[in-house]
């Protein structure tokens, strides 16, 4: 069974179905979306269950699982050579957890879209297209295919923010679109460069196959990205330029300081489900891209520039946390906290230790559903009174005890309370980056220590919010009418939140559920990079 193809293209079927159904049946759209996403989730679960954790992946196609390879585009371009684009998909330890996470977050997003009134047809159709693109990104092993999915993803997001968003939605949508496009356009240049540098050893044709790109032997001696590094662009080694450009393309997605300003705007203006997808999946694509592409194709340059990567990570952690501390808008605060938490991912990746990279992966997964839960919780409040200002609420614990319980658990989970998944992620990023000096990756120990300050700050802003909004005597900006509007969580909302937070707890107690699948791939990646340190 071509399980990955099914996973990717099922949503397209859903899109077709939704578009084909006349508007009379518009109440059925969400059920179609839900059913298809649920099937996807089951499929992803099957992938997880059948995953062989001993396989290494990364630069070895044999180490990938559920591989599907079909020749897709074959063109003889005469003097330039033959064009060779494959439909090549497969997963290894790096992509598998993210695939499952995406399916879960999508399910949450559909659940959060239950009350969408504004043209549900377009909404759910776009959501399903987005779903397809996301799944495709995590599975694609052909750079061309990857890029295709990567760009396809932008389109539905642009419309989802631009049409279903808040007051300044157009501004936010364009800002988001341009930022991401800016990164990916330059990425295209590098892709072409790589294409002309790499040769499929079997056919002798140039190829977009990422696996071949990871093997130094497949590079042409005179080509632009040849491993000897004597090719230069603007006086800098061409490979370094390639690495930097690809890194920034993905780093915009992560996002790093100072390329993060699209994130608060996009999050604040986007409707709740899109915020969930943005925080839960999109940011992870950045981290995934850095590991899968930047580090695997340019391990030599990764080893060269990890000091800067670590610095960017640390700056993101602290700067994002400080920004979150001064927010008055709850959603914006959580958006900035995402910047801070994703900084850990970068720091962990930069450490180049197995602990650090595993910690970064774990942090991505944990942040994936925790931030989704946080945005969902903000959405709950916004649905009821259309206000997100922290200062408009006080003493909510007495009106909405269940809600407060969930918020408290989500807050403590994301501030890294042990027992929850975020702790494992952050602790091992810190431990890994601290350990980095011992294996000589050039990441100084003070970065680990500075990163840990982010943990303190995240406790500060989350607890401050908790105290300000939920504790104390009841005082609401909207007075009596708000008191009645602020009903406690509904069954549907609890149905979405409970599994998420339970998962956070489960992964916090049994991190092996993720680590065991990661290990082989991460060790392989580390050993690849180790050669260049």
């Amino acid at each position: 069974m071509p399980i990955l193809s099914l996973l990717i293209f099922l949503p397209l079927l859903a899109t077709a179905l939704i578009l084909a159904l006349p508007t009379r049946y518009k109440s059925s759209y969400k059920y179609i979306a839900l059913i298809f996403t649920a099937i996807q989730f089951v499929l992803a679960g099957i992938c997880y269950a059948n995953f062989d954790s001993a396989q290494t992946g990364i630069q070895d196609l044999a180490g990938y699982q559920f591989v599907e390879q079909l020749p897709w585009i074959r063109l003889d371009l005469g003097a330039i050579g033959k064009l060779e684009i494959d439909y090549l998909i497969g997963i290894d330890g790096i992509s598998m957890p993210l695939l499952l996470l995406s399916a879960l977050v999508m399910l949450m997003a559909i659940g959060a879209s239950w009350k969408i009134q504004k043209s549900p047809k377009g909404y759910f159709a776009l959501l399903m297209v987005l779903n397809m693109a996301v799944m495709g990104i995590f599975c694609a092993l052909d750079f061309f295919l990857f890029y295709l999915f990567y760009e396809v993803m932008l389109l539905p997001l642009y419309f989802l923010i631009g049409i279903w968003g808040g007051a300044r939605r157009e501004y936010a949508a364009i800002k988001f679109f341009l930022y991401t496009l800016f990164g990916s356009v330059f990425m295209l240049l590098i892709i072409v460069g790589l294409y002309f540098s790499v040769i499929n050893p079997l056919t002798g044709a140039h190829t977009f196959n990422m696996i071949y790109m990871m093997n130094p032997e497949n590079y042409l001696g005179e080509s632009i990205f040849a491993w000897d590094g004597y090719q230069e662009i603007l006086g800098i080694s061409a490979r370094l330029v390639g690495f930097i450009v690809l890194f920034f393309a993905f780093a915009i997605k992560v996002p790093i300081v100072p390329l993060h300003t699209w994130l608060p705007d996009a999050h604040v203006e986007a409707p709740t489900p899109v915020s969930i997808i943005l925080a839960g999946i999109l940011l992870k694509i950045g981290g995934y891209g850095i590991i899968r592409i930047c580090y695997s194709i340019f391990p030599d340059m990764a080893a060269l520039s990890n000091w800067w990567l670590g610095l960017i990570g640390v700056v993101s952690i602290i700067y994002g946390a400080l920004n979150a501390l001064s927010q008055k808008d709850l959603k914006r605060m959580i958006a900035y906290s995402s910047v801070s938490h994703m900084g850990f991912v970068l720091l962990g990746i930069a450490s180049m230790t197995a602990e650090g990279i595993s910690g970064a992966m774990f942090q991505m997964i944990s942040h994936g559903f925790l931030s989704a839960a946080l945005f969902f919780l903000v959405g709950v409040l916004y649905d009821r009174v259309h206000d997100r200002n922290i200062y408009s609420f006080r003493g909510l614990a007495q009106i909405m005890p269940k809600y407060t319980g969930y918020v408290a658990v989500a807050f403590f989970a994301s501030l890294g309370l042990p027992g929850f998944s975020a702790f494992i992620g952050e602790a091992f990023v810190i431990i890994g980056s601290f350990n980095a000096t011992s294996i000589g990756t050039g990441l100084p120990r003070w970065m680990a220590i500075a990163g840990s300050i982010g943990i303190l700050l995240s406790a500060a802003y989350l607890l401050w919010t908790l105290q300000r909004m939920f504790f104390g005597q009841i005082r609401l900006k909207g007075g009596e009418s708000w008191g009645t509007a602020l009903t406690d969580l509904s069954v549907r909302e609890q149905l979405i939140l409970f599994p998420t937070l339970a998962l956070a707890l489960l992964l916090g107690i049994m991190p092996d559920l993720v680590f065991s699948n990661l290990n082989a791939s991460v060790l392989n990646l580390v050993s690849i990079i180790q050669q260049f340190i």
């Binding site: 700067y319 920004n323 197995a354 810190i430 680990a448 943990i455 504790f471 991190p511 092996d512």
Partner: protein, 684 residues
């Protein structure tokens, strides 16, 4: 048979830890339906019994440990395991022994509260976390329980969350504890980097990795790795930072007085007997890691803490705050015990202190309980915790008075009490330690002696003000209430207090009331060697000095507070400073809290006006360039095309004039053409 003997302590230890967890989970599920707390009580009783069994089978017998693989990252496998040795089983016994009376007491103290189901839930969670902390074999797991303890205390401090002060206090407690947690995490990272394992058995066990380390050429070399020597000191300091926050050491002690916003029963359990002890326990566990400079630092901080907290205690009027500062002060003593290398003495003091401090809090709780009732009945508005509203209580609550006095004597280190033994062990050891070092090191024992006398004085002040003299509110009360404004505490509260009172006496710990060396506890933890020689003189002089100092203090206190011959000005700077806790809170508020907030605001300003402005600038530049190119397109590129077109148009228009239908014009042009033709033929 042999196997069973090995397994059973582990089973009992597991049961000890898991009983409160199960109670917690059960109560989470049950929610509001279960208000009685009977489940928690049963759980802690099981813990008490199992903890006792574990202790019996482990004490003074070989260490038992068990490890199971938990998860693997890269090549390192992290284990989950139990470590049962004298130290951990002592704590495993101590925690439920203190917690059980508190549970019983809480049944009466907390009854009728609206959120009491949460209270029992949190209390069970706390007991689970604390018990887990003491028997875990891995530093990582210890860290997990360490933070869980902090989390449970966050919940308990903020139990009355509708009070703004409680909500502030629990946030403060958690954040200050977080600072310590960072220390722990960094310590953890250093240990992991150096040894590639976090298992306590591997690290600190018999012949563990930590003993195989050597210092060569300024390098700290372990069998696995080596790093600069400074990291050894830093590792020690990092763990001490963790202990500083949790055990409320200066300057991170600020959370503990505020934590008194929680119910008194919570204060007695968490903020006196167990949670704050976790720091001392941690330091005792990782003790072999400390080098001389780290130890000296610990001793100095401990001394400063002991002295400053005793000073602040003198200026307080809130009965719970006085006790809170006395806790901090006693924790300072324990830290000095660690710092001078006698962590057995520190643990001894920790154990005795747990009982008498718990009793002090429970007695104070009984008083507050009655004062609150009085407040409700009389409809007067007064602070039920303020000493200035009390006085003469021994007439109404004689049993509470006797128990509290007993605990106070133990705190003051009066002979025949447990406090005498343990406090002397620290003070005398510190004196011997100073003797071996000489010079400035004597400051520490001298400070400790003075602080001990101060301790006797401030606890005496509390007793005199609260229990002696006349009840100060008597005049304001209605007729009916004047005869019996307050009552003795109910039996459910008195019985646990009585039990704790028993534990404050010397026979529980040592057959010899005057020498701590005979204590079974010190025997069990006995260190192989002290770094200093014992001094017989100290054993004689110091107890006498302390005793006479305390008695003089009490006589002065009696005169001042009972006979109202207070000679000092209560508005003087020294007293005000003590009342305001040395203005440390204000200082932190200004410097750190406001500083961080200012920084955060600046960052946000920076984000809006610099980072985002850069984006806006790029946008502006792109727009300007595009406007230019529009202009160029319109006037230059397009202009050229238009010029060509209009030139052709113009030329056509000109030629068109010829075709005006007039014969002669036609002829004229024919002529001209012919002429041009001729000219061409002739000249070219």
């Amino acid at each position: 048979m042999d196997q069973i003997a090995h397994i059973s302590p582990i089973l009992t230890a597991l049961l000890t830890v898991s009983a409160p967890l199960l109670a917690f989970l059960y109560q989470v599920v049950r929610g509001k339906r279960d208000q009685s707390g009977i489940i928690s009580l049963i759980a802690i009783t099981i813990s008490f019994v199992c903890g006792g069994l574990t202790w019996l089978s482990i004490w003074n017998k070989p260490t038992i440990s068990i490890q199971l693989a938990w998860f693997t990252i890269g090549k390192s496998t992290f284990t989950v395991g139990l470590l049962l040795n004298n130290l951990s089983t002592l704590m495993l016994l101590l925690v439920p022994t203190v917690a059980l009376p508190v549970h019983i007491y809480s049944r009466a103290y907390m009854s009728g509260d609206r959120g009491v189901h949460r209270y029992w839930m949190y209390l069970s969670l706390f007991c689970f976390a604390m018990l887990g902390l003491v028997i875990m074999d891995s530093l990582l797991l210890m860290y997990i329980f360490w933070e869980l303890v902090g989390f449970a205390s966050y919940l308990l401090i903020g139990f009355w969350f509708t009070r703004a002060a409680a909500a502030q206090a629990n946030k403060k407690a958690f954040l200050v504890n977080r600072i310590g947690d960072l220390g722990f995490l960094i310590g953890l990272a250093i240990i992991f980097a150096q040894f590639k394992t976090l298992s306590l058995v591997d690290l600190f066990g018999e012949g563990g990795l930590i003993y195989q380390c050597v210092l060569i050429n300024g390098q700290w070399v372990s069998p696995v790795n080596s790093m600069d020597q400074i990291w050894l000191t830093l590792a020690g300091l990092a763990f001490f930072l963790a202990a500083m926050a949790k055990s409320a050491q200066f300057p991170l002690h600020v959370w503990l007085p505020d934590a008194m916003e929680g119910p008194t029963s919570v204060s007695s359990l968490i903020h006196a007997a167990t949670m704050v002890a976790a720091g001392v326990f941690l330091l005792a566990t990782v003790f072999p890691l400390f080098n001389d400079s780290a130890l000296l630092f610990i001793a100095i901080i401990g001394t400063i803490t002991a002295a400053s907290a005793a000073y602040f205690a003198l200026g307080q009027y809130d009965i719970k705050r006085i006790l809170a500062f006395s806790t901090i002060s006693q924790l300072g003593f324990m830290m000095v015990g660690i710092g001078i290398g006698t962590w057995d003495a520190a643990l001894f003091h920790l154990t005795t202190h747990a009982f008498f401090k718990c009793l002090l809090f429970l007695s104070a709780g009984a008083v507050i309980h009655e004062m609150v009732h009085l407040k409700e009945h009389s409809r007067l508005d007064f602070d039920p915790q303020d000493l200035r509203n009390m006085g003469g209580l021994k007439k109404y609550m004689p049993k509470t008075f006797i128990l509290m006095s007993l605990a106070s004597l133990a705190l003051a280190g009066f002979p025949l009490t447990s406090g005498y033994l343990s406090k002397d062990s620290i003070v005398i050891s510190s004196f011997e330690w100073a003797l071996s070092k000489g010079g400035l090191y004597f400051i520490i024992p001298i400070c400790l002696i003075m602080v001990s006398i101060l301790t006797a004085f401030y606890i005496g002040r509390l007793l005199f003000k609260a229990f002696f003299g006349e009840f100060r509110l008597l005049g304001q009360l209605q007729e009916g209430l004047q005869n019996h404004p307050l009552h003795e505490a109910p039996k459910t509260m008195l019985i646990p207090m009585f039990f704790l009172g028993l534990c404050c006496l010397f026979p529980v710990f040592s057959p010899n009331p005057l020498s701590y060396h005979d204590s079974w506890l010190m025997d069990g933890l006995l260190l192989d060697e002290y770094t200093f020689a014992p001094s017989h003189l100290a054993h004689l002089v110091i107890p006498l000095l302390l005793l006479s100092g305390s008695i003089i203090g009490w006589i002065i206190g009696w005169k001042w507070y009972v006979h109202h011959k207070y000679p000092l000005d209560p508005d003087s700077g020294i007293q005000k400073t003590a009342f305001h806790q040395g203005y440390i809170n204000e200082f932190y508020e200004r410097l750190f809290v406001n500083g961080t907030l200012k920084l955060a605001q600046f960052c946000y300003w920076f984000d809006r006006h610099v980072v985002d402005a850069l984006v806006a600038l790029v946008r502006f530049i792109v727009l300007t360039v595009s406007q230019w190119s529009v202009w160029i397109d319109k006037y230059i590129v397009d202009g050229f095309v238009n010029t060509v077109a209009s030139a052709a148009y113009w030329a056509g228009n000109q030629v068109r004039l010829v075709q005006n239908g007039k014969l002669q014009t036609a002829l004229y042009s024919v002529f001209l053409l012919v002429l041009l033709g001729l000219i061409y033929l002739i000249f070219f």
